[in-house]
């Protein structure tokens, strides 16, 4: 599905990602775990086409990643990114205009379920409401690859549960999800493979269930060991 081949990303003299090679399988939910500044966001942004690797190559479905692949890749950043003039209904129109895989009906239902309405202005929303809107828009896309960067960041407990429920509803064997988070215990129940990143380098990729069965370690314990 997605392959990073010997990727290095430099910002000036700083190496955010160092010679990283990683292969993601179709239909798997990945947890991307690491400390702040470990390179998780950079890794996601490269796959989303928002920044280019300094060295190395990214392959999507076997071919070099290009701008057309953004039609099959949905990215949700940790920062609010909707245009400041946009209301919820403008976000819906925007996604429908640019992404053929966007399901308007599902978006409307999700918005209602999350307690938002179409006249609300994105720039006036709290961080929790903004996270709900970002999740609703991103998850209403039937994209093959979903990249969710800190989807639970700055969100209260109830909103967190609602976003997790949304993620689980959208997971299936044809879609790959990559979720970066610091809230390990929140995602432990549904993450299949955990990718550990430290200082821009891949530490390990671990199947959570296999690890639990063989060593009895929880994801949190594994995180402490690896990091």
């Amino acid at each position: 599905m997605l392959e990073y081949r010997n990727i290095t990303k430099k910002f000036g003299n700083k190496e955010a990602v160092k010679e990283l090679t990683l292969k993601l399988k179709k239909g798997t939910i990945y947890g991307l775990l690491g400390e702040n500044g470990s390179g998780k966001t950079t890794l996601m942004k490269m796959a989303a086409g928002l920044t280019q690797p300094t060295e190395g190559e990214i392959l999507f479905e076997g071919h070099p990643l290009s701008y057309q692949d953004k039609a099959s890749i949905a990215y949700m950043s940790t920062e609010p990114f909707f245009y400041s003039y946009m209301k919820v209904k403008d976000v819906e129109e925007y996604y429908a205009d640019f992404f053929e895989d966007f399901d308007r009906e599902q978006f409307r239902k999700t918005i209602e379920r999350l307690g938002l309405n179409e006249e609300m202005k994105a720039s006036a929303m709290s961080s929790g409401m903004n996270a709900k809107l970002k999740a609703a828009a991103t998850l209403a896309r039937k994209a093959d690859l979903l990249l969710l960067d800190e989807p639970l960041n700055g969100v209260d407990y109830k909103a967190r549960e609602e976003i997790i429920a949304l993620i689980l509803e959208e997971a299936d064997e044809n879609r790959t999800m990559v979720i970066s988070t610091h809230l390990i215990e929140e995602v432990e129940s549904f993450i299949e493979d955990a990718i550990f990143i430290k200082d821009g380098q891949l530490v390990d990729v671990v199947n959570v269930e296999t690890e639990r069965m063989t060593t009895g370690n929880s994801l949190a314990e594994l995180y402490l060991q690896k990091m």
Binding site: L50, Q52, A71, S77, F81, Y83
Partner: protein
């Protein structure tokens, strides 16, 4: 590209609304002054229209550059860069809309000016005579049959020159945000970069224009052929450079 332009167009709608309201106020004040025969009121609104037309058209261009800088700084740039569109379509849409908005505002001012002008002529009377006097004076300066050609040529050259300024502004922001990313100094550095790039472009033009023969079009027009050709080449070069940087180096 049409959809990209649609959303770029929306970004400056507040400014356009302010311009339209200000214009409506000016025209109504002017016509009101005419009705109550207050020349001072007419004079003030006509002056505001004239000064405003000059300032606002330039402001719309500058605002589009400021919006690009703001989008990159606040991550609203994700919106456009996460769409399955090439960097050439994205930048192309931004440039076309920036220029179209300046045209739009210019057209609004032209309509408002025309309204006031026709109103004045009606007010003074002798509509046909005044038009004839204005036309004759233009022809005396520019030569018979050259009037329209000269106006079109000068407007075309001003348009290309201003397009080049806006494109250099975009390039300056992209260069600055590529090097400094989220630094608080990136905005300031982009202004410095703008003046440096503009200085280089102007310096090269001065060197070239001294060497090349000055071929003029449409009589005594302000701009020679060399001016237009040079700035069209610069526009293409700046667009290609901006696109390459945005594609390969810029982290949005």
């Amino acid at each position: 590209m049409g959809k990209l332009m649609k959303y770029e167009w929306k970004k400056q709608r507040t400014s356009r609304m302010i311009v339209m309201v200000a214009l409506a106020v000016c025209v109504l004040t002017f016509l009101g002054g005419m009705l109550v025969e207050k020349d001072a009121l007419m004079g003030i609104s006509a002056t505001l229209l004239l000064v405003g037309s000059y300032f606002v058209v330039f402001y719309m261009g500058i605002e589009s550059i400021l919006i690009l800088n703001r989008d990159l700084k606040t991550k609203q740039s994700y919106m456009i860069w996460m769409t399955p569109k090439s960097v050439w379509e994205i930048l192309g849409a931004k440039f076309v809309v920036a220029i179209a908005q300046m045209f739009f505002v210019f057209a609004l001012y032209a309509i408002a000016g025309l309204l006031c002008f026709v109103g004045t002529i009606q007010y003074v009377g002798e509509l046909g005579n005044v038009f004839a006097i204005i036309r004759d004076s233009f022809i005396r300066v520019s030569g018979e049959g050259q009037l329209i050609a000269q106006i079109v040529w000068n407007l075309l050259c001003i348009f290309v020159g201003w397009t080049e300024v806006v494109m250099v502004g975009y390039l300056a922001v992209i260069v600055s945000r590529t090097i400094l990313r989220d630094s608080k100094y990136a905005g300031g550095i982009s202004i410095v970069a703008f003046f440096v790039i503009t200085f280089i472009i102007e310096k090269i033009y001065n060197l070239i224009s001294n060497v090349l023969p000055n071929v003029e079009v449409a009589g005594n027009s302000f701009f020679g052929v060399g001016y237009l050709v040079y700035y069209i080449i610069i526009c293409v070069a700046v667009f290609l450079l901006s696109g390459w940087m945005a594609d390969k180096k810029l982290s949005v």
